[in-house]
Each structure stands twice: as structure tokens, then as C-alpha cells.
């Protein structure tokens, strides 16, 4: 398996001019293609900051992040937007679907931004919704869906762009047990069937149980990295 992400001596310091907070401190990490990785740790340990840096949403104060050998830490804002569109899928804690679009349109939207053809968009969106077991809600708006259903649509959206990897920031935090198990099973299936690379930040034990690699953070540094 090839290395997709390489974080090298990455640090992120907030409030540099007042009291500095080292959210991520001299952290190095490699993610291989097809991994199903959970980044865990107590609140404030730097999980979300690390995910934001890996996803090109935030720039490290020091160090660099390479995705398929390309240093994204030095990219301009406009380049990063395009890079994210082509390479990264996002699943947010609060689902963040576009409220005025249906489930199908939400999944199609990302492919539209990639300028894919209408038929391809529709077929892939439907296929993903079917795989995520939510095709019957294709024409429902997010407000008509439960939290679990919305998150399944969000995962389908993240997969739709055929990204190199998917970053999921506490994807189960707002879900009940049944929805969480259901979502995790579906994501694990996607990981196995489509070789989709997932990186979660979580402190949900159920996610950790499913993960095949657990990276534990404390005070912005990796204290353990276990592959199963």
C-alpha cells in the first residue's frame, strides 16, 4: 500500500502574540491508502486541529503535510480549494448538508463542482445512496431526515468526489447507538469494497472498536499508534 498522507514535524500554535497554545506539537504521521484510522484522545488534545491541517483547511505553523508527495502546506487558498475538491472528502459532526437541496442533489453537488456530466452525477449519486442504504430518501430534504440518515448522505457526498481520503470529524457525536453502528458498518463496508481511506477524529469507543488503526494524541503529540 502506498502512503497517501505524510505529516512531517507539524506544529500548530494559536495566539502566538499572547499566550501560545500548542494545539499540535512536532507531530509526524503517515497514512497509507485504504486505512481505517481513528485519531483519539481527550478533548483539547488537538484531534480536530490535526484533521483540519491534514484536510488543507488550516495551515501548520511549522512543518509540512504532503498528500501523494505534494506539499499542501505552501499552497495558496485558491489552490487548496481546488485540491480539496479533487482529493479530500469531508464528513462533519453536524452533517452540514445543503438544506435547500435533496439528498440526491447534495450528493450530486460535489460532482457538479468537479464538472462531471449530468448522467454520471446522477448514476453515481444514486449508487452511493443505495450503498449507504438511503436511496429511498433520495428526494427528501435534510430537514426531513433523521440525524443518522443525514450523516449517511454526508458520507455518500464525501465518497462521491472519488477522493484520495475521507476526513470525518467526530461523525457519530450527534447520533444514537443504532445510527452509529449502522453508519460505522456502512463506512467499514465502503472501506473494504472501495478501498476508501477513512480518518476519523473521535472519542466514541464504538468507532475505536471498528478502527484498524488507532492514533492517540495528548497535548498535540502522538502518545500511541496501534495497528490492528
Amino acid at each position: 500500500m502506498s502512503t497517501i498522507i505524510k505529516a512531517i514535524n507539524v506544529s500548530k500554535v494559536y495566539h502566538k502574540t499572547t499566550i501560545p497554545v500548542h494545539a499540535v506539537n512536532q507531530l509526524s504521521l503517515s497514512i497509507e491508502e485504504g486505512e481505517f484510522t481513528a485519531i483519539v484522545g481527550p478533548s483539547g488534545c488537538g484531534k480536530t486541529t490535526l484533521l483540519n491541517i491534514l484536510g488543507g483547511l488550516d495551515q501548520p505553523t511549522e512543518g509540512r503535510v504532503e498528500v501523494d508527495g505534494t506539499d499542501i502546506s505552501i499552497m495558496k487558498d485558491s489552490e487548496l480549494i481546488d485540491f480539496r475538491l479533487r482529493n479530500i472528502g469531508f464528513v462533519f459532526q453536524a452533517y452540514n448538508l445543503i438544506p435547500v437541496l435533496t439528498a440526491l442533489e447534495n450528493v450530486e453537488f460535489i460532482m457538479l463542482l468537479q464538472k462531471r456530466g449530468k448522467k454520471e452525477r446522477h448514476d453515481r449519486a444514486m449508487e452511493l445512496l443505495e450503498r449507504m442504504d438511503i436511496a429511498d430518501k433520495a428526494n427528501s430534504k435534510p430537514s426531513q431526515l433523521s440525524g443518522g440518515q443525514q450523516q449517511r448522505v454526508a458520507v455518500a457526498r464525501a465518497l462521491a468526489s472519488k477522493p484520495r481520503f475521507i476526513l470525518a470529524d467526530e461523525p457519530t457525536a450527534n447520533l444514537d447507538s443504532s445510527s452509529t453502528n449502522n453508519l460505522l458498518d456502512l463506512m467499514a463496508k465502503m472501506n473494504e469494497e472501495q478501498k476508501a481511506t477513512f480518518i476519523f477524529s473521535t472519542h466514541d469507543q464504538r468507532v475505536m472498536d471498528k478502527a484498524r488503526r488507532i492514533v492517540t494524541l495528548e497535548d498535540g503529540t502522538i502518545v500511541s499508534d496501534v495497528k490492528r
Binding site: L85, P99, V100
Partner: protein, 404 residues
């Protein structure tokens, strides 16, 4: 799909969108109606002035208008008269003798412009006969009839059939006077007619002035749509020894008024557009601020800033596209209706007539005016959307995503 998202976003908060669309409708209606109303004021005043005072054009001896010296009669006036009568765009023509003099009754005396007219021709050109409020149009008096304005009659304390004496200098500089009898009282919104003019028969006037058949003034009206300035220029070129002027040259005050009204209308439009712009900015800013997380998410997923900008602008333009035509339609319907029935301002007629306006006004707007309103609204909506859209693209996805 951005267009679809923008359209659906407009209707996410129906109440708010409808309020801003309502504001647009009222704003556009107010602009159309205000413009039409002011236009009717202006047209009423100008038309009344042209009809009863200046006519569309006049011809004089070049030196006559300097100090109304009666020696300067129009040269070869029969040729000019014939030419005008044969010109298709000329509706009617009349000739006049003019002199400044005094009018006195047994109670009062005052300065007055004495105008010698041919009643039939004058009625066609200035519709002077329609202004009679008391007495008759040069009838009912066997010799030396005179028509005076109602304000002048009040000042002189005279009525129909009262005697007045007109005094002025004849062609030789001798003071001459004629005893006239009031045949009719004129009521006009024009102060020149109601306060300071006396109309007599040209034959009586010329006899007293001792100027034979000469005339000092030719006045003509034209059919609607005639370029009065061009006609005056043609006439001037043909008769270079006399001075031909269109109503714009005769009465620069009317031109000033036209320009002043246009400027006032522009100010009114700017005020309404500004209010509209702030309404739009407020609404769209609210729409952006309450969607910070969503906009951040869109940019995080890979939506380019230019597309986010376009989406916010489209939302604004959609608001204008809904509100604009409705406002314009209501404005058009209001003007079309009131343009036929007129707005009756009889309650204020005394005040209006005192400053030269008719008491019934007929609002009107030209197609170009509607076009200007449409362009104004689109431009306003476009400009007003820039700030909220700019605010949206200034968001950093990471900060926006963490906004609660």
C-alpha cells in the same frame, strides 16, 4: 445548480424575502408614480404656458424684444404668415400688435401689456376664448372691447362692462389714450394673463398706435411631436431679417423648470434607490450571517469563492427580478389609470393656480422613464449585493465551520 440553490435560498426565509420584495415593489411604484406625478406637473405648466402665453414659436423684429419699441414692426409679415400657413407642422398662426402702457379705472391705475389681437386667430392659437370666466369673448360691447385678467380686474375694482382707459405712446411718441369697456374677464393659471395683460382688437390698437396694418408679433402653434427648435431654425434661415424663436428661447424659465424637475426627479430616485439598497444589504447580510457555517462548508468542500460570490449575488438579483416587474406593473397601472381620470387637486386649486398650475393633473411616464427605473433597480440590486457577497467570500472555511 448554483442558480437553483440561490433560488431556493431566497425562499428559505419566506417572510424576510417577501418583506424585501414588498419594499422593492413599493419603492418602484413610488418612483414610477412620483416620476409620473412630477412629469404631469411639469407638462401641465409647460403646456399651459405654451398654449396661453408663448405659443410654440414667435417672430419679431430683431430689435423689438429689446425694449418693446413699437417702431420695430415685423418686416414683410405677410410672407412669413403665408409660409407658416403652408407649413404642415404648423397648426395655427396669429398676428399681434403690442405695447406697454397704463390701464386705469375710476379707482386704480397700473402698468399693463396691451395686446392687439385678431379674436378668431387668437382663439385658435392661445384658446384665449376658453379662459373667459365672466362676460364674453370680444362680444356684447359695440366698440373698443377689452379683455382683462381676473386679478387685474380685482386690482382695478372693475367688472364686465366697466370702463377703463388705456394710455400709451403712439408711433410718433405722442401719449395717446383710448376708452375701452371690459367685455370679458379671463381666468388663467398664468400670472401674465391674469395680472398684467389687456387684450384689445388689433384694429383698435393699430388705429391708436397709428401703425396701419403692421404687426409686432407672429405666434404659431405646431402639431404634437414637432421639433419646434428645428422649425424655428428653418424659419429663421428663410427670413433672416426677423427674429424667430421657439418657446425654449422665448421662455428660458420653462427650460430651467424642465431641467429643475428632471434634477428633482433624479434626487427622488436616488433617495428611493438608496433606501432600497440599504434594505437589500440588510436582508442579504442577515442571510449571509445566519449561513456562515453553511458557506464555510461549501468552501471546505471545494466550492470556489467566485461561485459563492455569484450565488449571493444571484439571490439578490432574484429578489429584484420578482419585486421589480410587479412594482413596475403596479406603477404602470396606476399611471395609466390616473393618466385617464386625472388627479383632482381642486382642494388646493387656489394655491396651485396662484403659481401657474392646473388643478387636475394627469400623471404620465415615457417608455424611456420606465426603462430608466428598470435599469436603476437592477443596478441598485447589483451594487447592494456586492457587500454581502464580499462578506461571504471573506469567510475562512475553518472559522466558518466552527461558528455555532
Amino acid at each position: 445548480m448554483i442558480a437553483i440553490i440561490a433560488w431556493r435560498n431566497v425562499w428559505r426565509n419566506k417572510g424576510r424575502s417577501l418583506v424585501v420584495i414588498g419594499a422593492m415593489i413599493i419603492g418602484i411604484w413610488a418612483m414610477a408614480f412620483g416620476g409620473g406625478f412630477m412629469q404631469s406637473f411639469l407638462t401641465s405648466y409647460i403646456e399651459s404656458s405654451i398654449r396661453h402665453e408663448t405659443s410654440n414659436g414667435q417672430v419679431h423684429h430683431p430689435k423689438f424684444t429689446e425694449d418693446y419699441d413699437i417702431q420695430f414692426s415685423i418686416e414683410d409679415y405677410p410672407s412669413i404668415l403665408t409660409f407658416l400657413q403652408q407649413t404642415e407642422s404648423v397648426e395655427s398662426v396669429t398676428t399681434r400688435s403690442l405695447v406697454n402702457g397704463m390701464i386705469s379705472s375710476s379707482r386704480q391705475a397700473t402698468g399693463v401689456k396691451i395686446i392687439g389681437v385678431n379674436p378668431k386667430e387668437e382663439a385658435l392659437v392661445t384658446e384665449l376664448n376658453t379662459l373667459i370666466s365672466d362676460g364674453a369673448y370680444f362680444e356684447g360691447i359695440s366698440s373698443n372691447p377689452v379683455l382683462i385678467g381676473n386679478k387685474l380686474a380685482e386690482k382695478l375694482k372693475v367688472n364686465v362692462k366697466s370702463k377703463v382707459v388705456l394710455t400709451f405712446q403712439d408711433i410718433d411718441g405722442n401719449i395717446t389714450a383710448g376708452r375701452f369697456r371690459v367685455a370679458g374677464i379671463l381666468k388663467a393659471s398664468s400670472l401674465a394673463i391674469s395680472e398684467s395683460s389687456a387684450y384689445v382688437l388689433k384694429s383698435d390698437m393699430n388705429r391708436l398706435l397709428n401703425i396701419g396694418d403692421n404687426v409686432h408679433e407672429i405666434a404659431f402653434t405646431t402639431i404634437s411631436g414637432t421639433d419646434d427648435e428645428a422649425l424655428a431654425n428653418t424659419l429663421q434661415a428663410k427670413f433672416p431679417n426677423d427674429k424667430v424663436e421657439s418657446w425654449k428661447e422665448i421662455s428660458p424659465a420653462l427650460v430651467f423648470m424642465e431641467q429643475w424637475m428632471a434634477a428633482t426627479l433624479k434626487i427622488l430616485i436616488i433617495i428611493i434607490m438608496s433606501a432600497l439598497a440599504f434594505g437589500i444589504i440588510n436582508t442579504m447580510l442577515m442571510a449571509v450571517l445566519e449561513r456562515i457555517r453553511e458557506l464555510g462548508m461549501l468552501m471546505a468542500l471545494g466550492m470556489k469563492r467566485v461561485k459563492v460570490f455569484l450565488m449571493i449575488m444571484l439571490e439578490t438579483i432574484y429578489l429584484a427580478t420578482v419585486g421589480g416587474p410587479v412594482g413596475l406593473l403596479i406603477g404602470y397601472a396606476t399611471i395609466a389609470y390616473l393618466g385617464k381620470t386625472g388627479i383632482d387637486l381642486t382642494d388646493y386649486s387656489k394655491g396651485l393656480e396662484a403659481i401657474g398650475y392646473d388643478s387636475i393633473l394627469y400623471p404620465m411616464l415615457q417608455p424611456m422613464d420606465y426603462m430608466q427605473i428598470v435599469i436603476g433597480v437592477i443596478t441598485t440590486a447589483f451594487l447592494a449585493s456586492i457587500y454581502p457577497a464580499w462578506k461571504a467570500i471573506k469567510l475562512k472555511p475553518i472559522d466558518a465551520l466552527h461558528t455555532i
